[in-house]
Subunit: 319 residues, 2 copies
């Protein structure tokens, strides 16, 4: 690896709302960034990447983009920025990008979403992070970042729990220089459960009730239901040894009430008939809570409703 | 009242799937039946009533129909056969139909739906019944009865709980002579809770998931959810001192699995943008269970989702 002052090299898997924004900012700041794209490959190759952002708009007319990981170089850091529903592809991709000191930072929603990467490269190489942002891909190679943007991240390996490691400082340095609001965390699981306190009620209810955040928060029984689901997330986390305090629940509710009306990423996936990230955001937290002796009944019910809706939404379509 | 051999006189409130079928059958068998109609009044007056039924089709070219209860005679028995969402009108209607010995039989879904009638005429005059039938109003004065048809009914007054009263025998006699499958029950609350074991999961999920019974039963997680909701109904009933055995739950599931694909009455109400019977079918059972110390969490969640859906479905419309 390079000296601590030098910027790292990056591979970014997925050029959507997350990969396009953060990968684009890193490239703009001078990092060597290699994108792995699928449907947008030709567009990115010809026209580059366009980012409209509350942090400032920019174009990268020429980006290093690949459609096959086998052609990509080994890098210092891989950002996994596609949906969890593509994680089964990591076994075909990561071996080409990872050398002995490469780290893999999984920037996805959900719980234990780092496991797929860890199974391929070993848990000691893996970190995870949650992105608190309103951002959408609005066209090929075109990302619109509307609000927020902070990344909280930490080590995945249980032996490193509680530490801010040197390599985390390295990530922090590059990301900060790129203008990204980034926050190293000692406990990745706490970061993930706290994010789930938002994702579980608002991703789930937005799809089942076809509603944006504002419609839900302005209806008494719906906002009460959102709060109860948050409390179940907090109780699930507590069963797993992670504290999500009542104050966090109240803060999330206030934050959502004051937010611009926002269609959750799961609602957008549903509307585009893409597979929903049900295992990452619902199945895994439920399984962890149950294994710890707590049954999150409302979350389970939402999960089953979403399974039905997702199945019907994609019936007859390739999965 | 007449001698025990004479048929009783009837008023039927609502000429829909329930009132049209049962009122029509009673009239056809020779009972004096007076219908109170709203939107269909002119059509019924001019063209009479048409019933297509698995028990045999028939037309009643001339029926005694009213649009104002003040013009109606006092009768021996009033059948309340409109939706519970119209029960606030009972205080304007029942006084005109009830003499000292009139009984009021409330043929509606839900729990404690007899209360509105009891508040007007006194609980000792009131009986309640559940109709196990697939029947729809398919046009003005036109009912289509597709399957089943049994009525189970009993006394509402707690002093009469456990009894098959003489007046219940009287109803049984008239209904049986009219060809109606009718079953006097000693415990109305048991009848109602057992019916709720079907209505709560299948009315509720059919609206939230926009699905008929067959789609729900053929999807693993959705049918599991239906079963869990049934079990919560059974536990709610148990808290209220009513036994709904596990065998009933299994029987209901088998019965639904073998049913023709059926759109629940609540789904039809939703599609027609009519108010949903949420208080009768959800609010009341939840309140009774909570008062008895049991919290039906999944039913509560379904109730809140339905409140949101019902509110949006009728936003900007007269309630």
């Amino acid at each position: 690896m390079q000296a601590s002052e030098a910027k790292m090299t990056y591979a970014v898997l997925g050029v959507g709302a997350v990969g396009g924004l953060y990968g684009g900012l890193l490239a703009k700041s001078g990092c060597q960034v290699h994108f792995l794209a699928r449907s947008d490959y030709q567009h990115l190759k010809q026209h580059g990447l366009r980012v409209e952002s509350v942090w400032g708009n920019f174009d990268l007319p020429s980006v290093s983009v690949y459609q096959d990981a086998r052609a990509m170089p080994v890098v210092d850091c891989v950002l996994v920025a596609w949906k969890t529903t593509s994680n089964h592809e990591l076994s075909q991709v990561l071996p080409h990008l990872c050398g002995p000191k490469t780290m893999v930072l999984v920037l996805q929603n959900g719980l234990d979403v780092e496991r797929s990467a860890a199974q391929v490269v070993g848990g000691e190489k893996v970190l995870g992070g949650c992105c608190f942002l309103c951002s959408n891909k609005i066209g090929p190679g075109h990302v619109r970042h509307l609000d927020y943007g902070r990344i909280a991240f930490g080590e995945y390996d249980s032996l490193l729990r509680g530490q801010i490691t040197n390599r985390m400082q390295k990530i922090k340095q590059d990301f900060s220089l790129a203008g990204i609001d980034v926050q190293p965390a000692e406990d990745l699981w706490e970061v993930r459960w706290k994010k789930l306190a938002w994702n579980i009620p608002f991703n789930g209810l937005s799809v089942v009730l076809s509603a944006d955040t504002s419609a839900l928060m302005n209806h008494g029984p719906a906002s009460q239901l959102a709060e109860e689901l948050m409390i179940e997330v907090a109780e699930s986390a507590a069963a797993c040894g992670v504290a999500v305090p009542e104050s966090h629940v109240q803060q999330m509710l206030t934050y959502t009430r004051n937010m611009v009306p926002y269609a959750s990423s799961m609602l957008l996936d549903y509307q585009a008939r893409r597979p929903l990230e049900l295992e990452a955001i619902f199945g895994n937290p439920i399984r962890f809570a149950m294994a710890a002796g707590y049954q999150p009944k409302s979350i389970q019910m939402l999960y089953r409703q979403l399974q039905f809706i997702d199945w019907r939404n994609r019936a007859g379509q390739p999965g």
